[in-house]
Every structure is written in structure tokens, then in C-alpha cells.
Symmetry: C2
Subunit: 137 residues, 2 copies
Amino acid sequence: MNRDEILQYSQTVCDGLRDDDDGVRREVLAHAGSRWSLGVVHTLGVYGRLRHAEIGRRMHGVTQRMLTLTLRQLERDGLVLRHDFEEVPPRVEYELTDMGMELLVRMVPLWTWIVGNADRFREARQDFDSRHRHTGA
Amino acid sequence: MNRDEILQYSQTVCDGLRDDDDGVRREVLAHAGSRWSLGVVHTLGVYGRLRHAEIGRRMHGVTQRMLTLTLRQLERDGLVLRHDFEEVPPRVEYELTDMGMELLVRMVPLWTWIVGNADRFREARQDFDSRHRHTGA
DNA sequence: CAGTATCCTTGCGGATACTG
DNA sequence: CAGTATCCGCAAGGATACTG
């Protein structure tokens, strides 16, 4: 895929961005990039059906609150399914929907690329910072 | 690419998420999903080199401030190049770096998918909301 | 034209404590 | 166990005015 093909192809992006700017789409994108979503989607993708605490244990640093919020968000977006067994003590399991899986498929290349280029990012950042520290001159 | 291949592949995601949680990577991902970044990257991708005001004109609703901030962010991440001609009146042009182009390549499939599935998102959201309006019962 | 500077609101996300 | 409830700091992002 060369530069021109990309540009042709990315007209779709253009169309998507133009009309209905404050629609669902932008929200979904924002959700996908938010603090814990990718981690949750990935964890559920890899391990399948998991309970609340199991997800939490597999993700470093997430609080109960944020995990719940993230899961609700993903559920609302149709990316995660919530099975409440309505037992006592409570038992709830989460799993990816097909849509969630599809999202994961699209996120993986992006994320892989980001991870693989972390050094270039750091480098660029250092350049920028040094250029801007001393009045840019 | 089937489910299993995805899961294998997405170990990369896992690794990337684990160590160095608050590193550059997560920031880049967040930036990519932030309010105006995708629009700017796409605009520069499609139209090539543009001046500040030209970008602004092609993007609906962005303020001068947010455009500047977004551009700085992208410049700092090494995704956008800034050419200041140091003239009076000022003349500054922006263009994508190769890295910026590479990001765009990874964003397009994701965004295309989101746009193409907007209806499914809306649907899921309505389901969710109606299920939760009346006490879920 | 291409920004700064300033002010302000909103809401994300963390910490902690509590409950059916 | 799987959540709520509450409080809080901070930073994103918008509106507006000003400047070299």
C-alpha cells in the first residue's frame, strides 16, 4: 500500500469526520483510546470469559471503580457482554462480543506499531523538547 | 486472520501494555484518539503541506487554540513537521512526517470500521439504555 | 496570519469507604 | 464478590481577547 493508495482510501476517513461531528463514532474512537479500554478488550480477547476480579487481577493498576466504568462503557458500545448470574454472593462474567473482537483486530496493528516505534517517539520528543527549552534559538 | 491468529498476535499488545505503563506509548495512543488529532493527520495526509489557517478551514469547529495545541502535540510526537518561514506577516506550513503517514495508515482501517459500524453502535447503545432506564427489570 | 494569554467549565480518573 | 457512593485534583477543551 503506497502513499497514494492510502490517500485514496482515507477519503473514507474524511467522509466519516465531516458530517455528524459529535456522533457516536467520535465517542467510540475516544473510548478506544481511553485509559483502560484497550487493556480490558485485550484481556477478554486473550482469556475469554472472565469475572470482574479476574480481569482486575490481570491488569496492573486499575481500581474497581475504573474497571466497572470501563466495562459499562464497553458494554454500552456493544463491545462486551455482561452475564449476571444473579447469585449470592454475586457472580458476573464478561466476554467480548463479535464487535469487540472486530475492534481488537483493528487495534492490534495500531498498537503493535506504536509499541514497535516507542523509541522513535521518545527521540522525537527529546528533539522537540531540546529545541524548545532554550527559546528555540 | 482468524480468532486464534489474532489472539496469538495480540500478545504484542499484552507485552506493550504490561511494562512501563505510563510511558510514551499510552500517551501516543491517547493523542491519536483525542478530539482533533485524527482530523489534522488526515487533512495533512490528503492535502499535503498546509498553513495553519488552511487546516482550520478544512476542519469543522476547531478553534485556533485547539488547532495550535493539537499541532504542537503532533509535532512533539514526531508526526508533523513545522516549517516556519519567519516572515512578516507570519507564514508557517505543516506537513506529515513519514511517521505521521504511518500512523494514518494504521488509523484508517480502524476509523473506517468505526464509521462503517456506526449503526451497530447506535443500536447497541439504545439497547443498553432501554435496559437500564427502567431498573433493568 | 499565526499564534499567546486568560478565564472558565466539564468530566476523567484516582483514593477511599461502604453495601447487598 | 461486584459493585456504589463520595470526595477530590487536575488537565482537556471551549470562549474570548489580545499581539508581533
